[in-house]
Symmetry: D2
Subunit: 337 residues, 4 copies
Amino acid sequence: MHFFSDNATPVCPQVMAAIAAADRADRGYDGDAWSARLDSAFSDLFAAPVRALWVATGTAANSIALACLCPPYGGILCHEESHIAVDECGAPGFYTHGATLMPLPGKGAKLAPATLIDRLKAIRPDVHQIPARAISITQATEYGLVYTPHEVAAIGQVARDHGLGLHMDGARFANAMAHLGCHPGDVSWRAGVDILTFGCVKNGGMVGEALLFFGPDADARAAEAARWRKRGGHLLSKGRYLAAQILALIEDGLWLDNGRAANAAATMLAQLAPERLLHPVQTNELFLHLSAPEAAALRAQGFDFYDWGEDAARLVTNWAQDAASIQPLADALKALQ
Amino acid sequence: MHFFSDNATPVCPQVMAAIAAADRADRGYDGDAWSARLDSAFSDLFAAPVRALWVATGTAANSIALACLCPPYGGILCHEESHIAVDECGAPGFYTHGATLMPLPGKGAKLAPATLIDRLKAIRPDVHQIPARAISITQATEYGLVYTPHEVAAIGQVARDHGLGLHMDGARFANAMAHLGCHPGDVSWRAGVDILTFGCVKNGGMVGEALLFFGPDADARAAEAARWRKRGGHLLSKGRYLAAQILALIEDGLWLDNGRAANAAATMLAQLAPERLLHPVQTNELFLHLSAPEAAALRAQGFDFYDWGEDAARLVTNWAQDAASIQPLADALKALQ
Amino acid sequence: MHFFSDNATPVCPQVMAAIAAADRADRGYDGDAWSARLDSAFSDLFAAPVRALWVATGTAANSIALACLCPPYGGILCHEESHIAVDECGAPGFYTHGATLMPLPGKGAKLAPATLIDRLKAIRPDVHQIPARAISITQATEYGLVYTPHEVAAIGQVARDHGLGLHMDGARFANAMAHLGCHPGDVSWRAGVDILTFGCVKNGGMVGEALLFFGPDADARAAEAARWRKRGGHLLSKGRYLAAQILALIEDGLWLDNGRAANAAATMLAQLAPERLLHPVQTNELFLHLSAPEAAALRAQGFDFYDWGEDAARLVTNWAQDAASIQPLADALKALQ
Amino acid sequence: MHFFSDNATPVCPQVMAAIAAADRADRGYDGDAWSARLDSAFSDLFAAPVRALWVATGTAANSIALACLCPPYGGILCHEESHIAVDECGAPGFYTHGATLMPLPGKGAKLAPATLIDRLKAIRPDVHQIPARAISITQATEYGLVYTPHEVAAIGQVARDHGLGLHMDGARFANAMAHLGCHPGDVSWRAGVDILTFGCVKNGGMVGEALLFFGPDADARAAEAARWRKRGGHLLSKGRYLAAQILALIEDGLWLDNGRAANAAATMLAQLAPERLLHPVQTNELFLHLSAPEAAALRAQGFDFYDWGEDAARLVTNWAQDAASIQPLADALKALQ
């Protein structure tokens, strides 16, 4: 049983059905009927004007977002364990043509306003130093923790005060929203987020993530992003198959249902071994103390997961799981005690 | 009825079935069982050692290929009407970090060895001028014409003589092979092609093209390409769905069947209006003299296609068509006479 | 005797004196007293507000100018024989992060408005094609020909009509102005030029060219350019030595005197062999019919120059020459008749 | 009196004389007689085959060096306070097309082998993470400290063990050598350095630094570097004036004399206030505890220097100073006690 990533999960049936329904002739690229509906569907979901573009991956979505916010000579404040800093082989540097990530510490991979402000103060405003131009935060973080609306708004305020753009990597935005229970606008445009990577693949999709632009610059930035998308090779010729997946997830609340299911599975597992938890479990990731023999024992029973440094492991649950399906792992964890 | 692009066509049923068959949990990215089979499947098809990577689009495939062959200060000889020069918004310049396309003329969008040699001779070898480092040709060309094995080999010889890499954009490689009837190795590695963009989407796929590396540098170039793929955001997290499509096309000859079907439809239409043809019809594209009123008349009957300058039109047939399905257009064309 | 380039010439004495005068301690980079005077000195010269930056070379000046006018996905209309297209090893592509030069024909390396307009019309406005964003012209051209104020203004109008920036490569701006006899503003900001590479080295300088910004966007573009200058390694730590050279040339009209001297030498030579001229001589370059034996004969007498294709040669005169100093060449040319 | 940077110092007389001697006609770019002598002059100095290129600045030299050692997707291990990380506005990212600096801690801005090895161990070898490809160290460091031959060799060993290139930023190489008293080869090629930025401007030059390539890859890397130099706009058209400066410094030991003079001045000042020193003084930089009132008092007497955070200052001495010329500052420092 795979617990090493939500990427390992199959596509959710409603998304598969949507792909089948889109399997007919239409205009190429994003000239089709499904792609045409994205802006309004996301505007409805966020209760604000949204410009939406699909791209093939979250790496592309994050990088294109940053290219819209930061010039090649600029810097991007981010967490030192963020996906853009650690796991994208420099993709943001590629799409921004050389902008510099400015990695910062923070518990649970969350950035605090004070940390941002201190870093900004340390930058001399002359041409010798790289000026910060954007902040990127991850919702939920790499440790599955969630920024509250208030926390995002505080970072949004730092961004505004310093003339920086604010990007949110929402690879697990659905999981974060399932945890928060608030309106999606509350942790995005209302809190000062300019561009959101709205994750779909981890949440039951096959291919395709949405890149969302909010606020008065949305049109101009989306036009720029459309150029980066083309140049990056992300303007797929049969885009309707991507748009259909995204619409299937968002138009009837499936995205949130899937996020809730994944979170519930993680919570159930967490409750079995609270003393092992390295971080609180707010979404669908568990970071557990696990000795090498314990890890080996679990693997011997067919459970797959990442080692996370020494004597620790990361387990990720997904939309397809429920109490029954995680029972074998629950039993195995209990047996370790 | 859509004749404006093979991109407008649905996904072919066998590919759809392969996607469904791949819809189960497996390792993320390219760690899955389907991706693991690509190298050997293509090696079998080409009767030579092949390294194969999937990427989301042909634009990405072409650009990554060129980035493996040409440094930022180098030049790439190509046809002035090639897709990389005209329709990719500078993507090759993006992935190569600024390499320069060197567009050349040639009938039917085909490059001739003499044209290449003349251009190469005109480059001074000092540091002020951009040195050519690669040649890129398109098989079939933007006008649907096909390079014979002999013609490719002659260009391959120019490449070798001048220390250049040779890339082939095979967005319609299946159509070209259906026309040629030879072994796919004859117009690729045996003729000096280093990297081939093996097109799948126009040939019945949904998402995903294959990038193939031949020859002694294949391993090193594929390793570089894997980095560009990641940095470009083309290492999809559920790559098994792409690999499955590609395997479905190539493992049982479906790619060639689909190419033949599309070509046959074009040939049938061409025979109805030979005097209108602007180029010989060798694959699945027809370029026709068509006056504005004639074009309007066809469109009024529901046929869709591109205008190609003044008094001309491009019609593209596809894998899903047969004699019956193109009959309405055939009748309409005859009625124009 | 060197006639192959004005780069071969020594530094003019007044510039050397200015360097010596600047040889004392001052703030580093552009924090010195000389650099501080550049804006006002150029504003006086052009009778308009000017922002001025020194950089080490014309290649850097041209490239940084284009980076201020054109995004990575944009195109730059230029002459197919322009220095930026032919002799800078793709430097504009480096500084613009991949923008595409769009080379155009034109007699004497001059661009005509109609040629520009035709090329612009051929660009589809979709994301697949590279949108033009700038025009670059050379004053005087690579063949020593001069755009009149009227001609520049006509190109400026094309730029304005299409929302394009206009750059002028003035490597030999002094020679052009010496020929025109008009106010320098007439062929620059009054005619719609946004950024001018104001050449100094060919005109008697040692190191350093000036990059001039005109118009309402001057401040914003100069701020961007200051970043490219730093990132390109062109913010020299002892910038006062560059600023002093530039001021020496422009503050007392030396630049124009030097331009006149060089032009006069070329005119004198041209009059000796009018039937050999491939282009009219307006500045300091002569393009002559010269058979291989004739070229060899001249070289045997110690005259150095470039071959310019078959049976032709380029000779360049410079600020240090007068009637007496070119007499040996004049005699040699006469002897060829 | 300027103590804020050795950049503030005038050009040393012998260099000025060399410039005057080079002030005659010769071939442009690097085709002149002075540039032609660089390889052999540096080969003599380092007692090994050296390929040498001049460029306008240290920023360009460092960046081009790194572009020769590290691909766009690679990482460069460096100190977190190194000039390339802190004061070049991302120039290494520009020339490398997006490579990532990997900043590391270390006392006195020196890197230790163990720190490098730990960082290298933390990099997963998959395509998601940036692979280290180069190490860059500074000799003398930003705090004026010097790596011994043994220390450089230990880092060279780490580089070799991990397949990394080794760059040395020698903006103050002369000062370091004056301190060490060993052969320049001992801290460069013999210790595993592949490319050395050999600083000239801080050491008495006007414009121009030397980029030196050692070892079996020297020719290939120098050929690459010549392309980056041209594309970066650093192939100055009157290169003889740069080459002449560099030769004047190295051919008769002037570089070392100048380094010694600057170091001696710093040492004299250091001995006056040993209790104020934040770092040992090995070269020409002093980092002093200095309260705000003390700093103000010194400035009121006409001494100029950088504040270095709170209650600290950086003072830099230079080649032009001797006991007499620093006496006023010595007196002022003593008066503070």
